[in-house]
């Protein structure tokens, strides 16, 4: 391998990135060393098994990835603003839209939601931690390492450029040689391990760790949505694992699953990819639904409308999500029967979704609606998501889909679903639970600016794309001709894109501003909430969450206690020693070995890959022999932490 093949060269933008990466690294190392923060970093973060800290690390990584994916998006929009633009060349553009899609779905949307689930769900169900705190750390670190492995591709070895769907045979060795596509395969594979473990962990947590009295049908809606999401993760992610492994075999070990040679079948890749890919859509949308349910109920000061219907519709969606994958390739000629069946199942999935929309609307009905920022995002969600929903039904009509497929109509549709659904939810959830994580609220005035600039920018960006699609503009073209007539709408779209970028910057400024100036919360109940996470006496729950595990008597237990004026005060005699799991550095070390193994595979340096894999198994076996039963927090320490007088 030559140097010009190892390092990406020849592009000033890449050199700029190289320099900034090196400077950032040096800056971080300098800071850590100068302020003697290494030990703090190791003890408090790298070895932590606390679900709240892991959740915060997930969210921080996701925000960084949102920035990376957003920059990709703006580069694309800049290139497309005018016809025949020379800003990016084709190859560079292809790399950028590939990384944009992959990062936004796998390394932004999912970790953001999983981060919020990590922070909130154990608190909502009145648990002290998750079922497997150690595994939770493994999940986070494998996700993080997978994301890092994928991200270094743009300076080392080159980024993948076959689209986030990586259709074969384009993604094969013959047509996309080199490490780029391998980064995609290995980065996703390693991160996928973490996601699967999260699925099992939270499923068991929700099923078995609930506070006494919290029956399944007394669980908060966000917990319910997380439960259903975990079920989908558990059964969908193994499909991705296999699909990625098979393509890895094709690229590295000469098998013929999807190749042109040896009677391989490229269609099968599309089939397997979407067998996972469609449930994946619900993995990133259901937690969003759950968050909106919580937020709308809280700020309408009212019980959720149709609680059971909400749950059944989610269960229905979970089952359906495995029965609609073919709508991603209606145009592959599988025949009229197949297309008809999958058209109908796909449209049918709109029914439970529609039911949820009406239930949210009627949660506000006869309520007392407060326009806080989380609530604004939720209202924005309803209004915008419906557009994504109805165009989804249009796309489900296979005969019409032959005209929408691979066009900007589709691009617009899924951005309406994923931004108005998932991203709005991430923002809403982040703002809503921010005081739980950091002890103060984000500034509401600036927050409203973020909302309006982002939402208007979002519509300006994506609404015109429906018309571009109907005017025949295919997705993934890096430029277009003057005569096509697509110029003006693309310019409008680009302006909208930059508005969203500005909104993101205002959001980051808001984080800084609020960190400096926001009033610190004195109670744990920043929004007059309804569910258990707001019942902790301190703004930020202590590491053991609850000094005394609450006993739940109904839905919205905490809210009802407050209404009845019967919020229990913690008494010293109620406190018993609390058992907690110990920190462990093993997950971080195991993930580092994963990185070594992944990097070795990417460059096909098998000695390195084998070394990494042995390391991974080594840490597994080490853990197997480790009998660490955790430790007890003494009554005195709890009393000290809770600041109660004896």
């Amino acid at each position: 391998m030559k140097w010009d093949e190892f390092f990406v060269t020849g592009d000033p933008m890449i050199y700029g990135a190289d320099v900034s990466i090196v400077l950032t690294m040096v800056g971080i190392l300098f800071y850590l060393t100068k302020y003697k923060k290494w030990k703090w970093l190791w003890d408090e973060w790298l070895t932590t098994v606390d679900h709240k800290k892991l959740g915060i690390m997930y969210i921080v990584s996701a925000v960084l990835m949102l920035f990376r994916g957003g920059v990709d998006a703006l580069l694309m929009r800049t290139q497309l603003a005018v016809p025949e633009a020379k800003f990016l060349d084709s190859q560079h553009y292809n790399e950028i839209f590939t990384t944009h899609g992959t990062i936004m779905i796998i390394f932004m949307a999912m970790p953001f939601l999983i981060g919020l689930i990590n922070v909130v769900v154990p608190l909502q169900i009145g648990a002290r931690d998750v079922a497997y705190p150690y595994l939770n750390a493994v999940s986070f670190w494998t996700f993080f390492i997978g994301a890092m492995l994928f991200n270094i591709s743009f300076v080392i070895g080159g980024s993948p450029s076959a689209g986030w769907t990586s259709y074969m045979p384009l993604a094969s060795n013959e047509l996309s040689p080199g490490p780029g596509q391998n980064y995609y395969l290995l980065g996703l594979q390693i991160a996928g391990i973490g996601t699967l473990l999260t699925g099992i962990n939270f499923l068991v947590t929700i099923l078995k760790m609930r506070a006494p009295g919290m029956t399944l049908f007394r669980m908060p809606m966000f917990t319910w949505s997380s439960l259903v999401t975990m079920v989908i993760i558990i059964f969908a992610f193994p499909i991705l694992t296999v699909a990625l492994a098979l393509m890895t075999f094709d690229r590295l070990f000469g098998s013929h699953f999807f190749t042109l040679q040896g009677a391989g079948m490229d269609m099968l890749w599309a089939n397997l990819f979407w067998l996972w890919g469609h449930p994946e859509v619900y993995i990133v949308i259901l937690p969003a639904f759950g968050m909106f349910s919580e937020i709308i109920s809280t700020f309408s000061r009212k019980t959720l409308f149709g609680y059971k219907a909400m749950i059944w519709s989610m269960l229905l969606i979970a089952g359906y999500s495995f029965l609609v994958w073919v709508h991603h390739f209606f145009t592959m000629g599988s025949g009229a029967l197949v297309n008809s069946v999958f058209s109908i199942t796909t449209m049918a999935i709109g029914i439970p979704t529609g039911v949820k929309i009406f239930n949210w609307l009627f949660t506000m009905y006869r309520g007392k609606i407060q326009f806080t920022t989380p609530m604004l995002w939720s209202l924005g969600f309803i209004v915008n998501f419906v557009i994504g929903g109805v165009t989804g039904v249009m796309l489900a009509m296979a005969a019409a889909d032959y005209q929408y497929h691979n066009t900007y109509f589709l691009v617009s549709h899924f951005h309406y679903v994923l931004i108005a659904g998932t991203v709005f939810a991430c923002f809403a959830g982040l703002i809503y639970w921010y005081p739980k994580m950091f002890g103060y609220k984000l500034n509401e005035r600036i927050g409203k600016w973020v909302f309006w600039v982002f939402t208007i920018g979002f519509n300006v960006c994506f609404f015109p794309q429906y018309f571009l699609g109907l005017d025949g503009m295919p997705r993934r073209v890096y430029t277009y001709s003057e005569e096509s007539g697509w110029g003006p709408l693309n310019m409008v779209s680009t302006i909208g894109g930059f508005m969203m970028g500005i909104a993101f910057l205002i959001l980051v400024y808001n984080m800084y501003y609020s960190f400096r100036y926001a009033k610190r919360e004195t109670t744990g109940d920043a929004w007059d909430g309804r569910t258990l996470e707001w019942s902790t006496p301190t703004a930020m729950p202590p590491f053991y969450n609850f000094a005394k595990i609450p006993e739940v008597t109904g839905l919205d237990h905490f809210w009802r206690q407050k209404q009845a004026g019967k919020v229990e005060k913690l008494k010293a005699e109620d406190i018993k020693p609390i058992h907690m799991p110990s920190n462990s550095g093993v997950p971080f070390i195991m993930a580092s070995f994963f990185f070594v193994a992944g990097f070795g595979m990417v460059f096909e340096w098998m000695w390195m890959a084998i070394f990494g894999i042995i390391g991974v198994f080594g840490t597994l076996f080490y853990r197997s022999f480790e009998y660490d039963d955790g430790y007890y927090v003494s009554v005195e320490e709890v009393i000290e932490t809770e600041k109660i007088s004896k």
Partner: protein, 323 residues
Amino acid sequence: MRRLKPFFTFGLLMAVFMLSGCSDMIVLDPKGPVGAEQRDLIMYSIWFMLFILLVVYALTAFIVYKYRDRKNHKGYDPDNEGSHLLETIWWIIPIIIVIALSIPTVKSIYSLEGPPEESKDQKPLVIHATSVNWKWVFSYPEQDIETVNYLHIPEDRPVLFKLTSADSMASFWVPQLGGQKYAMAGMETELYLQADEQGTYEGRNSNFTGEGFTNHTFDVMAMSDAEFEKWASETKADAPELSKGQYDKLMLPGHVKQMTFSSTHLDWVDHAKNPEYALDARERLGYEEKLPHSKAGKEEKKKREEEMKKLEESESHGDSHAH
């Protein structure tokens, strides 16, 4: 509510814009029965969707306005948990809408599998369309001619496209004539299209195929039956024959201008049956895909482009016979 107003206004404006702009968009301005059927289905569904949007927006506006938190708030009922009647209504209405959409959808899906109803009794013209990065090769087996990156078709007669690919998965799409279908190596998919008006329509590959994807396009010229027959026989008589050597060069990734030949590659290869042909041809020509950002990759690309130029020249000089 005042704060939400611009938002709804914006939405409404967009909806109006959507309706008024319809006829300008090529998918909604079809020039053949296949496209027309799809346009009708699209318009049918759009009305339903606008109805749904209207209902949701009206309800949202009403509820958000009426129940906003304000002084002397009325009608607050914090324990209102649901209503069987209401919930039944919004389970049933979507089900009815889905049924209303399913019936015409399934009908269209089935009808699009065959030639258009109006020209069922005509024998369709068969054209093999083969995608190879990043060009389209069209073979007319009956006329025994082959074109590259353009094709002529007679109007008012169904055309049966037999689609396949020599390498990447491509999608054959002529928006004004009708929807697309994938062209895949080792597979053959069929697509019926028909033009009811003479003219030139833009066609393209709409499925991402890598570096040259953006210009992976072709022109469809629809003409009268007589003109078509004349063109076909003239081409058969005047155009050079396609040699295997030339065809191998066509297998290299790259763009070429429009080309015409008086024989077809179907004589020796059908990519639907032999998906390895293009890779073998590249190997024979000593061409290998390299890392795009490396020096070797850039040299390789230059080499390919030169090869393509030579190929275009060889066609215009007619020296293909010499091969």
